[in-house]
Subunit: 357 residues, 4 copies
Amino acid sequence: MPEAFPQIEVAIAASTGAVGQRFVELLHDHPYFNVSALAASDRSAGKLYGEAVDWRLDSELPQEISGMELMPLIELGEPTSPNVIFSALPSNAADEIEVHLAAAGKAVFSNAPDHRMDEDVPLVIAEINSDHMRLTDQQTTSGFIVANANCSSIMATLMFAPLEEQFGIDEAHIFTQQALSGAGYPGVSAMDITDNVIPFIAGEADKLRREPLKMLGTAYQAADFPIFPTVSRVNVRDGHLIVAHLSLRETVDLELEHITEALASFRGPEEVRNLPSAPKLPIHVLSQPDRPQPRLDRDTENGMSVSIGQISEEPNTDRMGRRVFKLIGLGHNTLRGAAGQSVLNAELAYARDLLTP
Amino acid sequence: MPEAFPQIEVAIAASTGAVGQRFVELLHDHPYFNVSALAASDRSAGKLYGEAVDWRLDSELPQEISGMELMPLIELGEPTSPNVIFSALPSNAADEIEVHLAAAGKAVFSNAPDHRMDEDVPLVIAEINSDHMRLTDQQTTSGFIVANANCSSIMATLMFAPLEEQFGIDEAHIFTQQALSGAGYPGVSAMDITDNVIPFIAGEADKLRREPLKMLGTAYQAADFPIFPTVSRVNVRDGHLIVAHLSLRETVDLELEHITEALASFRGPEEVRNLPSAPKLPIHVLSQPDRPQPRLDRDTENGMSVSIGQISEEPNTDRMGRRVFKLIGLGHNTLRGAAGQSVLNAELAYARDLLTP
Amino acid sequence: MPEAFPQIEVAIAASTGAVGQRFVELLHDHPYFNVSALAASDRSAGKLYGEAVDWRLDSELPQEISGMELMPLIELGEPTSPNVIFSALPSNAADEIEVHLAAAGKAVFSNAPDHRMDEDVPLVIAEINSDHMRLTDQQTTSGFIVANANCSSIMATLMFAPLEEQFGIDEAHIFTQQALSGAGYPGVSAMDITDNVIPFIAGEADKLRREPLKMLGTAYQAADFPIFPTVSRVNVRDGHLIVAHLSLRETVDLELEHITEALASFRGPEEVRNLPSAPKLPIHVLSQPDRPQPRLDRDTENGMSVSIGQISEEPNTDRMGRRVFKLIGLGHNTLRGAAGQSVLNAELAYARDLLTP
Amino acid sequence: MPEAFPQIEVAIAASTGAVGQRFVELLHDHPYFNVSALAASDRSAGKLYGEAVDWRLDSELPQEISGMELMPLIELGEPTSPNVIFSALPSNAADEIEVHLAAAGKAVFSNAPDHRMDEDVPLVIAEINSDHMRLTDQQTTSGFIVANANCSSIMATLMFAPLEEQFGIDEAHIFTQQALSGAGYPGVSAMDITDNVIPFIAGEADKLRREPLKMLGTAYQAADFPIFPTVSRVNVRDGHLIVAHLSLRETVDLELEHITEALASFRGPEEVRNLPSAPKLPIHVLSQPDRPQPRLDRDTENGMSVSIGQISEEPNTDRMGRRVFKLIGLGHNTLRGAAGQSVLNAELAYARDLLTP
């Protein structure tokens, strides 16, 4: 790792939206990165950030950011723009422009879904599959794209990874209860969600079937077990709950505490542990019978930890005679599940000297 | 069925609570039944109903009920008390007193969990297992107890019954999002549930593992397939959502529309269809991609129908090569899921001439 | 009033929005009116209503309406279009087109704010100032516009009218807690209002300062007392709460029960009482100490009544030695506060034979 | 102020409730105070704190507190118990025991309403009426009681104090929207407040009429202007909103910015400013048109600041020709409005050397 942390200039694309604001919050006072450019859609370009943004976070909008002028997205590709770009671009909008930026030599850390499943784009959770980062070498552009997964895919993958590694996952049924902020801003109408649950989020189940497998596999080969997901939107500001019913491969002599131990002792690789955004414990195992809960657990370790509770075994086996295990996970969808993950991935790239100032 | 509907006198036990109030609402103007006695705990006995009750329903408290004096529970067993009793007694409290009332010759229609799994107590959803009613003959008391299941068990069973009958259910994973009124009143603190989900309800999963199987079997033999349930409490006043992931036994040539058709065409037996509380369609199949939803669908047919939507098949099969089907159901937990079900069961008993005036 | 209620054809302008949907709900099975035309913005014109609308009401979208084709707004002015038009047009959009329709000979019953304060446009609550209807004679167009006030102005005016008439109002401080549906759909983001109150609604206070005075005065002279309003938006679907602190003019020997009696006995003029949408009691006085409440009281008499409770007198007098009275009112903002009021006004016009088939 | 902050032992009475938990949170790592005793009702006495408490705060329950044994309330009066006691006792329970503790020589900092209006008990907001502290000399006990006001009274008083001092308040209408945590735990049922507002809190209005006047006056003479309050409970976890309509005494040449300036420049006396719990700005003036809002502003300066916005003047004068000013305030009800205020008051007593170790 470079000594004394020479700072690298970075830009944020789509900086005024929900995830863009989280990028601003996480990066404006960062030891490795210095935000020197903010881009927005043409409609907002030219305005000061403080004028264009409808700041929605509990933290204060940083002074120095507020006074910066928004540039058009396309200018991010110019040689004078920073070489590192955090992209909060929405689906579709991201597709071409992220390729364009990579072609212009930029390192793009993206939240957008467009390139997640591209063979040569690493889909990274630093603690889990940091080795996938090497896929950037396969990209034919002078720069590269590193993607992070959909918010609920990231949570599920953190819940799965220690179990997949130690016992093998044979099959997973998952049910999500996802927070409002996952739909962006303004997102869900209060008229629709007050005294209600909306058991539908377009496109979400398909991401949950595929993204965790890519992350849990090798860089070149996805993991292979069926994931059966159902999703819902609930009246919670932040924090996605995920229930998992799991069949495991190695269950001879397996006791519940082995599962608990596998989760509670998970740390991720050495090189990741001391990155600025890495939590001390990527997974917190809770013992209370009614946890995790979104309001109580979403902010654990600055929203970068997943809390897991109610680890149990069903009294019945399934039709194959397999034991059925259950656990409930909770993570902050716009921190670990979005901007925070991108920043952590970029910190890893920085530590490996993959970023040019 | 008796002509001209000679009315039968009925009493309500635990009439001031959440379910008790629903009984009052459903029975005070009923073609078969006339509420002539209201009982409550000793603390409230002697007061007028209108003084003792903290009426929480949107409908008005009926005048004629409001002025009735509450009697002690124990007096319900006296010969002068009505021969038909609707019991909204809480768990444990119900255990002995319901047996006492049956021994005193009363017909007890109970919401309480205490006797649901007793071998000689029928657990009834009139449209599904009306034949279980004959179990009352096995009871050694001069009266009898007919139970109805837990609210979410009733919903799940209505979702399962047509599929179990036509295709056989091989295995079920279910996940509930349950309404506040399921916890009674005052129930859940607003401080706990605002901006939150509580993924825990004590004892609920165990009921879901067993009660549907009793109802889906014969009077003497429960159905036999594993149910893997996980439950949660959400910030919704009324209406339980249930997601089911199902493996079916007969899936050769099975198409999704066969499932839809099985559900949409379900009517229940002839003798039940014209009972006063029976909905025209016990199951409503919805075609919109984001339904059912608690606020929009809980009141369908006076809260006596279950709405089912998002019937789909997973793109992957499971490890046994079985196809995985999904559906989402929604029902009103204090109507079809509690008091309404008891009343419908009693109407069936009335129609069969099992009740003595 | 015409015998046998010959039905008059009516059209709804801006029929797909929140208020437009209420018009459809109230008019599709109306004894006086028959909905034969539905208009929408150019974007939706040509589509079937059922395709274009995002139906948000608990009631079902009526079949016969669902299949009607939407016409462009401008065609409402044609001679073949119905002579009576209910306008749910938004502010600004309403300004010119409502004048155009009146010029084309149509009777326009409008919810829009644009012409409310025009000298020759009556702002009507049928029970309170039906005599203002004669202002339509002053309009130079062959047709005319009848407006109804802003939702919270209507509630406040119903609260004030009996007191202004009997005791004179000298001064009023009012505070509103307004429901989500008052902001239209999608309106307020759930991210903004969950676990929150927004003490601001653009333009609302100014309407509250002026509209009640116009309605409480004569057709030619507004009432004259200062109204000091502050407004807020709360996380409630329907139902506006209004607190009023009032100084009255005639308080010698005034007792609280006189105020209660003035409110409870309010009926409005004979000619209004039997109109189809008129509630039996425009004002319901509640005696419980914690009422009115939006969820419990908004649907009273189909949402056409205002519920008033907590009528009290402050222990201290003000600096002028005046007694200070307080009351809390609640009404359904999209029924009495919008579409329902327009329909009631139109019924009055029908009864007076002001509408031509 | 004593050098090097020699720590003083303190006890918390009623330490397991909502306010008691806040005391634990604020005091467990305090520069002046060391929590060495925790008391609870007889039912919980003898248990470990961690066993007896149902911890509801977002912060973690401190380890060292969790393992402490709860003592019975009555033992707090023993000589070996700490000389400083923070009382979160509920109304009525507090009455006798607080007097008993003061008689036993203890310094009692109380949240309870019982002694607030006693002539010799100072009701203190450190920044506003620190001089009232001298009233403790009037108390005939060897120890003393210092009270703090009701949560909404504290907010209102902070809003009023700079205006009362500079311009004189002639009359105030206030309207509150109060958070759930103000009702303690479990407090309000979710069934009552979801999709609703409850415009009633028992006893609250009377506190608002009297407590601010005691604090705004001298130690011996209350301020004298009428306060007309109406209160409501809203579905917000923390943070009370207060709307004030004010008539001022000195309004010649008064401009709105003078009011803004009076509020924004308010600091409180020198001796208070550097106390550990004192915010840098007791009042934050916000310029956005839709602020303050509970979720966004309640945590300002650790919940010890009141945020004030929407300072405006009504276009009309009242019947006396007085100008009417409006402002909206927001404060954290269990921090500045309860435990935080007690702690700040105790810090002031410490700094004045009124506390014996």
